[in-house]
Each structure stands twice: as C-alpha cells, then as structure tokens.
C-alpha cells in the first residue's frame, strides 16, 4: 500500500474488502492477504518493523522494498521498514482467532474467504456488509501499522532538542 494505511504486500483495493483477482495475481499474494486479513480481524500484527540508519540501509533492500511493496517511513537520519511476518506453516489457529472475532452470522463466510485464499482461490465478492467489515479491519490495521512505523522512526531519530542558530 505504501500509504497512510500501510501494510506490506497488501493491495490498496483491500481497503474496500476482498480485492479483485488481478490485485492478487499469485498464490503468495493471496496467502499474504489472507494472513494480513486474519491478523487484522484478530487484532494481531502481520508485519515486522525494523529501523536502520540511512547510511546502513543496503540499496538492494530499498529497491526490493519498493518492488515488493514494503512500506518505508523515514526521517532525515533513519528508515523504518515494514516487512511481512513469515507465513505460518499452518494458518488454522490464526484463522480460528480471526473468525472468532467477527459476528457469528458472518463467521462461516469469513472462514470460507480465508480458506479459499490460502488454497489459492480468490473467493467471490461477499455481501456488502462483509466487504465493509473486511475493508474496515484492514484499514484499521494499516493505519495502526503506519503509526507504529512512524513512531519507531521518530523515536530512533528524534528532532534535535537544541535548535541550532540560524
């Protein structure tokens, strides 16, 4: 997304709910989205933030971050990089926590969406209510992630307390 609502690898259209198939072109992208969505519903993190000094940031890592859609938030001195957490071997527990967090009448639909994505399918667009629920969960998680990255960067490179003479 690389934006204010930022999650690594998750396409921008996910803010609206389940994205169209062309935004999730590979099995890896579908599993990443499923992981991010499940974590968002379960109020867990699906990303890791690391902070490096600019001079220690490898160019290839920066280029890869842009290519893979890993958000970066920087100050003049440091860069906070948000990468996806490793995919779980078996997502069953994560999915169960996610499904438990949604209203009962939508649990089955959400379980189906997550299982389908993990299997490599892009499920049919669920009802507008479910789409809104999924979109809102990811937006909330993205905003939180963006705030964390920003805070991590500013904590590592705060504004100098002593103002230099002009």
């Amino acid at each position: 997304m690389h934006s204010l609502a930022a999650l690594p690898v998750v396409p921008f259209s996910a803010l609206e709910g389940v994205p169209p198939a062309h935004d999730l072109p590979t099995l890896a992208a579908r599993r990443r989205y499923a992981q991010a969505l499940a974590a968002a519903l379960a109020s867990e993190r699906s990303y890791e933030i690391t902070v490096r000094r600019r001079k220690d940031m490898p160019l290839l890592l920066e280029l890869r971050a842009l290519q893979e859609d890993w958000p970066m938030v920087g100050t003049p001195g440091v860069v906070a990089l948000m990468q996806p957490a490793p995919l779980p071997e078996d997502p069953a527990d994560l999915f169960a926590r996610a499904v438990a967090a949604v209203p009962g009448e939508w649990a089955g639909v959400v379980q189906g969406v997550l299982d389908g994505l993990w299997a490599g399918d892009v499920p049919e667009v669920p009802s507008a209510d479910v789409q809104a629920l999924l979109g809102e969960a990811l937006t909330r998680a993205g905003l939180q992630a963006s705030r964390e990255a920003s805070e991590a960067a500013h904590a590592a490179d705060p504004v100098p307390r002593r103002r230099l003479a002009r």
Binding site: H2, S3, L4, A65, T75
Partner: protein, 267 residues
C-alpha cells in the same frame, strides 16, 4: 557546347524560375518544420520530469487515494492551499552527489558562485502553495509535499544547475518548516514516488536542525499503480541486479566472458 540543364520528368521541359522558387520554399518549410519538431522534442524532454511530478500529484490527490484515507481517520485534506509564511532566510548549505544514489550526498563547500548564499522562504509579499494540508480530528496538521524526481542524479561539487536545483528545493522546504514552526502540532511529510534523493534528505536534515519540526520522508508514497515511478525504478532494479550478479563486464576475465583473447595478435 550546350549547357546541361535539369529537366522536370513530368513536363520534360526546362525548369522555370517558378520551380526553383517552389523548391526553395519547400526546403525552407521543411527546415522550419524540422526545427519546430526539434524544439517540441526538446520541450518534451525538458518537461518530462515536471509532467511526471504533476501526474504523481494527481495520482496521490485523487479522491479515492490520500483524501479518502485522511477522511477515514476523521480528518480533512485541503489541496494546494495558499500559505503565507514568515519571511525567513537561512545560510545555504549545498551538497554533491558524485557517485549517485548509492554514494549518498556530501557537503559541497565550494558551490557554484551563482548559487544563492542564503535561502529565502518567500519573496516579499509572496506565498507558497504546498500540495496538501491535512487537518486531523485532534487539530494537528500535516503538510504534504509530493515529489517525483529521479533519485539517480549524479553531480559533483560546484555544479551550477545542481546549486539552483537545491536552492529551489530548499527555499520551498524552508517555507514549510517556517509554517510548521509557527503553529502548534504541525508536521511535514515528503512523499516520494520512488526513492528520496540523498541531497534532498540531507537538506531536510539540515533544516530540521534549525527548526524544532518533525519531518517524515516516505519513499514509494502511494506509488502503487503509478506507472512512471515503476518504470524508472524497474530499470534501476534490473541494472543493479545485473551489476550485483555479474560485476562490470570489464572485471571479468576475457576468457570467461568472451572466450579466448582475440585482441592480442600473434605472428
């Protein structure tokens, strides 16, 4: 002895003065058209980075993009607001980037004499127009400036155009820092379509040391789906990966790269 003459195939007769005049007029028209075409081509080339920047602004400020996310958090976004800022100046500090992005930016202590000695936020009675200002529900404000330059510029010390480029960037940034300092809970975000140029980051760091203002630099800011950025980043990725994998061709032993040495002739 007859004088050789040009003949017109259609009539088979002698060329009249009208034909010569028409030929001259045609050549003049073609030359003028060629010149206009070259001028247009030069203008296209010159305007390309500017147009790319404008397209990037349109992309980020589209209703479904940044304004929508800002609204989700209960804030409002004003695009291209007029900003009247205190008249502020600062001793200029220039940078050189002789080896490009990977080499970073270092202080240029001998900038070109035409580079301004002090940066000025605005001219007398002037104003600035940032790309957008977000006002959040808690009253805090964030100024967004969107940039889409090439991060791969290479320039050494004393370069005149690099001096003017940095002065233009820094003067604008100075105005934004002055605005942020003038009000409570104001901060600045520089959104880049790709990587942020090292000289720009260095200037923002210098300004931050003079103002107590938070500045955030976001590479690849909302660049998903913005093809121009993908284009020039993609080329660099390819070049960088190739270079990392192979090294310079000249570093390879000729036997490995090109087979047996062929440029050493033996009798």
């Amino acid at each position: 002895m007859s004088t050789p003459t040009l003949t017109a195939p259609a009539s088979g007769g002698r060329l009249g003065p009208w034909f010569v005049l028409a030929l001259v007029a045609l050549m003049a028209a073609l030359t003028a058209a060629g010149t206009r075409s070259r001028v247009r081509e030069r203008e296209r080339t010159r305007e390309a980075p500017k147009e790319r920047g404008l397209h990037y602004e349109d992309h980020v400020l589209a209703a479904t993009n940044l304004p929508r996310t800002v609204a989700l958090e209960g804030g409002t976004l004003r695009s291209y607001p007029l900003l009247y800022v205190p008249q502020t100046t600062l001793p200029a500090r220039y940078y050189k980037s002789p080896t490009g992005y990977a080499g970073g930016a270092r202080r240029d202590r001998k900038p070109h004499p035409s580079a301004p000695k002090r940066w000025s936020a605005i001219d007398v009675g002037g104003y600035r127009i940032p790309d957008a200002i977000e006002t959040r529900a808690d009253g805090s404000q964030v100024l967004y400036e969107l940039k889409c330059p090439s991060p791969w510029l290479v320039f050494d010390k004393g370069n005149p155009w690099a001096g003017h480029m940095q002065a233009a960037f820094a003067s604008q940034a100075l105005a934004y820092f002055a605005w942020a300092e003038a009000g409570p809970r104001r901060s600045i975000v520089y959104g880049y379509c790709g990587l942020a140029a090292p000289w720009a980051v260095a200037i923002l760091g210098y300004l931050r040391s003079r103002f107590q203002v938070q500045v955030e630099i976001r590479p690849g800011f909302r660049a998903t789906g913005f093809l121009p950025a993908n284009g020039f980043m993609g080329r660099v990725v390819q070049e960088t990966l190739t270079s990392a994998a192979l090294g310079a061709i000249g570093d390879l032993a000729p036997e490995q790269a090109l087979g047996a040495t062929y440029d050493v002739l033996k009798d």
